[in-house]
Symmetry: C2
Subunit: 339 residues, 2 copies
């Protein structure tokens, strides 16, 4: 059973998932490249090697073919069955590693890049994201559901077949907690959403805009931690991605395709991480009856972040949390606008 | 001039240091290995290529040879000359990238690993750390002085000649700020140092101990974010590394050599980051006359952290700050004890 442990100094939870792990001699010394597997369990025709299919969506364009699948992660960081058993251990705190860890196979085609997907197909991927988020949020043990996509080995992708991951956690992750606190703090004083304020300033400053359509603005954040970071923010305030309607998901697919296409062309298929920050599971956090969640619908604003992995995280960043970015966001945005 | 920018959502500063940076086409796509340079500016005999030598220490064992040197970083993330010019930019905040960025060349020998250094030589490295920290702390523009060592390319070392970096920053970095807050909060309630409490529990639990001597305990932290992480804590409470006496630095050199030797043997020369967390520059932070620093001598406790870089930081970790560690700290400690 994986375990969640709390660091009393850094004030963050860590998932210890030994079963998922390698043995000591498997670590190597980071000098050898990962061998390329010859068999892909996500490819069409290899269904027998999938543990089980949670959800399958047929292609809108070729209705006799599947387009998107959700399957359990074969090496889950968190497991769905059992109780949390929260306990103190002297100065430390722990609980069982309860949660969900699913893989979303984005396409039957092994070599399909997200930026090259047909708009209909990518919209279907976002529809499955929305569905899995809504479904996992029914479980009140889960405080948060995180959606991520790793593209390329340097970004942590262990299989090259295009896929995303959905991870439901029984704690609010540290970064989400910080974002929620900043949003709440801003709202208490100003009765305005901090993300709406950022949207207005980015639109006005214009120099960090990468792309836009009627529903979304994509920009390089003012304090980007790494080169060519892009945030995609819906123009209309909304705290919860899972409440998005179909037309908005299609518009999101359009701008994600646009931004990823620009990154692909300007940086020659860079490794990247893409993730969604949305409201925590309100059914779960409100069951705690603690203060702080009253204004969440007004103060928080879901968004997508894309981080190309072009620089290494060295000791300074690990040790301080202070990132050194060698590319001005204004410069990055200019390249991407013309890319 | 580099710039510091504040992210109002993540509540952290970022250094934008474009002059240090590469141009867009230099990023590549992360697929090609870094070429090995044939010329090393840190090697004996290449002094003419060093910008200037801030400090040079002669070898205790071979007095006609230099042992340790401090030089300015050729590509500094922060620059020493100028005013901070703190300014708001709408919702954002910025200041000039004022600070210091030095390199400490640990040995004249290009191939010298820290774990194989003579105890006398490694003690001299720590003496130079102490001296540079104390010297940079005279400048009240600098809130914090961070000392780090990156070993191996995967850990971010751009030159293989053994060296460390000293970076003085005009802001308290986010991780240090969190550690200071946790320590202060604990002290307010208990009038005990949280690190002293951890030391006592780690000594008692014993299962995470890696090595120890009369002055230091080395252990794998209970909530280690990555496999084989080691913290080295002085047994006697002290908030400020720069106040360490010579005998303590020798004892520190001894345990660092011991721990790095175990990592080297068990994991076959792994890439790693090593960093020091010590008190902020009290002359600087107390000049602010804001509350919170009154008990720092009692509540904070300096320590060294070593992070072998064996796992990749993927989208989940970037997006949530929730780390997935595939190796139990108890398992890692057991390997290292017998290594």
């Amino acid at each position: 059973m994986p375990e969640l442990r709390h660091d009393p100094i850094l004030r963050q939870w860590v998932i210890i998932a030994e079963e998922r792990g390698r043995r000591t001699h498997d670590f190597g010394n980071g000098h050898e490249p990962t061998p390329t597997p010859t068999f892909c369990p996500f490819c069409e025709g290899n269904e027998t090697r999938l543990p089980n299919i949670i959800r399958e969506v047929k292609s809108k364009r070729e209705p006799n073919r599947w387009q998107v699948r959700a399957v359990p992660n074969k090496f889950p960081a968190l497991k769905i069955e059992g109780g949390l058993e929260r306990k103190g251990r002297g100065i430390y705190d722990r609980m069982n590693g309860i949660g969900a860890h699913e893989v979303i196979i984005e396409s039957p085609d092994h070599h399909q890049k997200m930026c090259d997907m047909h708009l209909d197909d990518l919209t279907q991927v976002f529809e499955v994201y929305r569905e899995r988020l809504a479904d996992l949020s029914k479980d009140t043990r889960f405080r948060y559901v995180q959606l991520i996509k790793n593209h390329g080995e340097a970004a942590g992708a262990s299989l090259s077949h295009p896929h995303s991951q959905v991870i439901a956690t029984p704690v609010l992750p540290a970064v989400i907690d910080t974002e929620l606190q900043s949003a709440r703090h801003h709202f208490r004083f100003k009765e305005r959403c901090i993300f709406c304020d950022i949207l207005e300033q980015e639109q006005h400053d214009a120099e960090r805009i990468v792309a836009q359509n009627g529903d979304f603005l994509a920009y390089c954040p003012y304090a980007s931690r790494s080169p060519f970071e892009v945030t995609i923010l819906p123009r209309t305030h909304s705290h919860d991605f899972a409440q998005s309607e179909g037309w908005l998901l299609r518009s999101l697919a359009e701008i994600v395709k646009d931004v990823l296409g620009r990154l692909d062309r300007v940086l020659n298929d860079p490794p990247f991480n893409l993730f969604l920050h949305t409201a925590p599971n309100l059914k779960s956090v409100r069951s705690l009856r603690v203060a702080g969640w009253e204004t969440l619908e007004y103060d928080f604003h879901w968004h997508v972040e894309i981080i190309p992995r072009l620089t290494k995280i060295a000791g300074f960043e690990w040790g301080t949390g202070l990132y050194i970015n060698p590319t001005k966001p204004e410069t990055a945005a200019e390249f991407l606008r013309s890319g």
